[in-house]
Symmetry: none
């Protein structure tokens, strides 16, 4: 199958090496997963783990011969007054041949919280293989894909093959906590680290299917809101105060209940006004995507989704905004029957944005809506709405050189054309890189749809992890080829 | 002031004795408070303290000449698998003259957890007097009142005066942990220990004011509900699934939001049908209660309650049912910005019941209401409603002999008529005694409204403790007088 490629002999060698060394690659992933690099819970113990994780990755890259700059980012002030250190961002580079294209990989080494008690079948921080699935927190999001990139590079090195591209990596440890300090660093490095970069690759999302690869050209943004309702700081006993108070929880459930209807339609006035109209060309792309709705429901153990056709379902994931209620802080959340009236509660919800919605307009619409709903209640409590995160949506030009290179590499490794997809979730970094560096940004996922990122029993398939390492190796070769083809005319001038 | 009473000479002697020995009485309270008899935290060390506490009380009662039966209750299996011994219940009796009435005092010697770190100004297990206030865990809930009863008895003994009533006590050590094993024991002793009992007195609640005594003739019941909405056991990522799911949290906030309006009115159809109508006589009782609404708001740090008059406020605390939403299990409840769609959430709320509401009817009404609301949403999720606790309300006949005796004793000791009050919270033991033994049950509180039961810096005023001891002594004499007056006609037959 490699006969058509000038690199086919080399590719075969690279792939063989990766297959032969796959247990080593899995072992390294196991070491990385074993570090509880949780950036979401703001506690000193976990911040130490993040520093340990970043140092381990820096060592790994230096051992490959990369120059690694571990950028100190100081500390952050938390809402409760404590100061927590921010883990460094790693800027790594390997090769600076001006005749080669330079491709920069972005990844993150922090993870969402996970505890065995949450419903994990195995210890979340002990990578455990069951039937070809590697279970562990961060396995697919995002430690596995980062290592697949490193595996591809190390395979060239191990075989003493010249890397066809200059490699850069930017690895952070705060992605799950909103990529604190990253944007500022990218701005600062725009004319330094990023000046020689031609392409930026992100591999922090999933395929649409269990077996068919995908290329991603868009992501939704996210505006995360908190709405606080407060009577007083202390809680009340429901026997001694039940019946004579505006209870903050009653106010809050009404506020949260006013946001979205049972068909998923957002009830905030004006929220759909900013959404770009859907074009005919766009519709065709949705029709071509290979997806079995029933299988998708089964895989996800969902009895029924809100929509009955593939096109509607995908558009509501990628092309329409959505609103999710995440939970409540300050209420009674433990097992048991505590008869408390919480004195102060904080509801949390977020809205996924699509082009051309902007966080500033959404913030205004949400605030006005909640104020109107609250005002109608005539409650004696105080309400405070806050947008704690405002991340833009992103779309790419799918005719860019690296999209072509990636399509070809996928065809080589997986023998199929990728699904051209968007991602319903927010990977703000795509938008940030695009807006600040003005470079081509591509999202090239490695994980399967059922990997369970952010969930219990997160995993990456051994097959995805190993084929992904091959894919990146093939991509380096294709990118080198496509880039010179693409650059030729301009070098003639 | 005692001139009108045939007992006035004796009363004076009793009161004088109590005044002269008050430091001794405080010293005994100090010894009792020093034992960390915490029944809430299920650990072996604290269970030992409970056994120690019960043994100390048994000794004290035996030294007064009482016959004390320390009933072994075996052990309890905790949810985590460990087995913990249950402290004994003491059944004590002093005197069995068939010509005297028999009055039984119920009290508990266990306490809520307390640590200096929680915000105590003094060590919670070292009774500390500041400005006439005796600070310590259990000082008012319930060691102080138990000792006041014992002080009254011991005063008669010390003065070598015949006790005008037969005394019984039932003292338990698991009240704060749900009175494990008590109900069963009361049932077992119905025709034994309780057969000769005429009156049961409970002193385990507070006055409505800081200075004015009260008599309590009712408590609200409580039906505690959980409502589960489930899509699947695992959580979802709001990027990957937001927009295509019936999200359990959206269903749940609608369900919880359908329960009560912003004026505190419960929206469950039929819920007020079972409530006993309010009589004119009853209204007068509310008018007579001494209460400053503004002061009550200030003490409780509440900007404004739902009602502007004392009568309305108290009726909504005691006389109307109320509904409080306590919280949600399974949603995101920690600090931070997790973008999760919880897969399964459990809402918790409870309804305080008033006569003649019954848990079985309330359960049916709540379930039907939630099923109707849920059905309208056409959600693909599963909903399950469960009543996990169903405790009856209780009211007493305030024309009972012992209420009259207590009113007179209060007038004698405090020179005022008591507030006739109810308690908005649920003290199941009153209803249990009434339902099982069919005897007259009275709640005669000694503590002031600001005693802080269950809270940091719990205290009992020295004045309340000492006057309370006198009150019980006067009550014995009045009860004897009223009882014989009351019994006379039947003894003529």
């Amino acid at each position: 199958m490699f006969s058509s490629s000038p690199h086919s002999g080399l590719l075969e060698k690279l792939f063989q090496y990766i297959d032969l060394h796959q247990d080593e690659f899995v072992q390294t992933l196991k070491e990385w997963v074993s570090i509880e690099s949780d950036s979401v819970q703001p506690v000193p113990r976990l911040r130490q783990k993040l520093f340990q994780m970043m140092a381990l990755a820096a060592d790994k890259l230096r051992n490959l011969g990369a120059r690694v700059d571990s950028v100190d980012l100081g500390s952050q002030q938390m809402p409760d007054g404590q100061s927590l250190p921010i883990p460094p961002i790693l800027l790594a580079e390997l090769g600076n041949d001006p005749k080669k294209p330079t491709v920069c990989f972005y990844g993150h080494l922090d993870v969402q919280p996970a505890q065995k008690d949450d419903g994990w079948l195995t210890d979340p921080y002990t990578l455990t293989e069951v039937d070809g699935k590697l279970y562990g927190r961060g396995a697919t999001d995002n430690k596995g894909p980062v290592l697949a990139w490193i595996n591809a590079v190390s395979t060239f090195r191990a075989l003493q093959q010249d890397l066809p591209v200059n490699i850069k990596l930017i690895l952070e440890g705060m992605e799950e906590a909103g990529s604190v300090a990253l944007e500022e660093l990218v701005k600062r490095e725009k004319d330094h680290f990023f000046s020689s970069v031609d392409y930026i690759v992100i591999s922090d999302n999933l395929w649409l299917s269990q077996r068919k690869p995908a290329l991603t050209y868009g992501t939704r943004g996210n505006c995360y809101f908190t709405v606080e309702v407060k009577c007083r700081d202390q809680d009340f006993h429901s026997g001694t105060f039940g019946g004579i108070l505006n209870e903050p929880m009653a106010d809050l459930v009404t506020l949260l209940g006013s946001l979205v209807d049972s068909s998923g339609h957002i009830l905030i006035p004006g929220i759909y006004d900013q959404m770009a109209p859907i074009t005919e060309e766009e519709k065709t792309m949705y029709e071509n995507i290979d997806m079995d709705l029933e299988e998708y429901q089964n895989i996800n153990q969902v009895e029924k989704f809100l929509f009955d056709t593939k096109e509607e379902l995908l558009m509501h994931l990628w092309r329409y905004p959505s609103l999710s209620i995440h939970g409540i802080e300050g209420a009674f959340d433990e097992p048991g029957t505590k008869t408390v009236i919480p004195g102060r509660v904080l509801g949390k919800f977020s809205i996924r944005l699509v082009p051309t919605m902007t966080p500033s307009v959404v913030e205004k619409q949400v605030t006005q809506h909640l104020e109107a709903v609250f005002s109608k209640r005539n409650s004696f409590n105080k309400m405070a709405v806050s947008m704690v995160l405002g991340l833009h949506p992103w779309t790419a030009n799918i005719h860019d050189t690296q999209y072509l290179a990636a399509q070809r590499a996928i065809k080589t490794v997986f023998e199929v054309d990728p699904d051209m997809i968007r991602d319903g979730s927010t990977i703000p970094i795509a938008k940030i890189f695009q807006a600040i560096t003005q470079k081509s940004v591509m999202m090239l996922p490695l994980g399967a749809v059922d990997d369970g990122e952010h969930s219990q029993n997160e995993k990456i398939n051994r097959w995805n992890y190993i084929q992904g390492s091959k894919l990146f190796a093939a991509f380096f070769l294709e990118l080198s080829k496509q880039h010179s083809g693409h650059q030729m005319p301009s070098s003639v001038f």
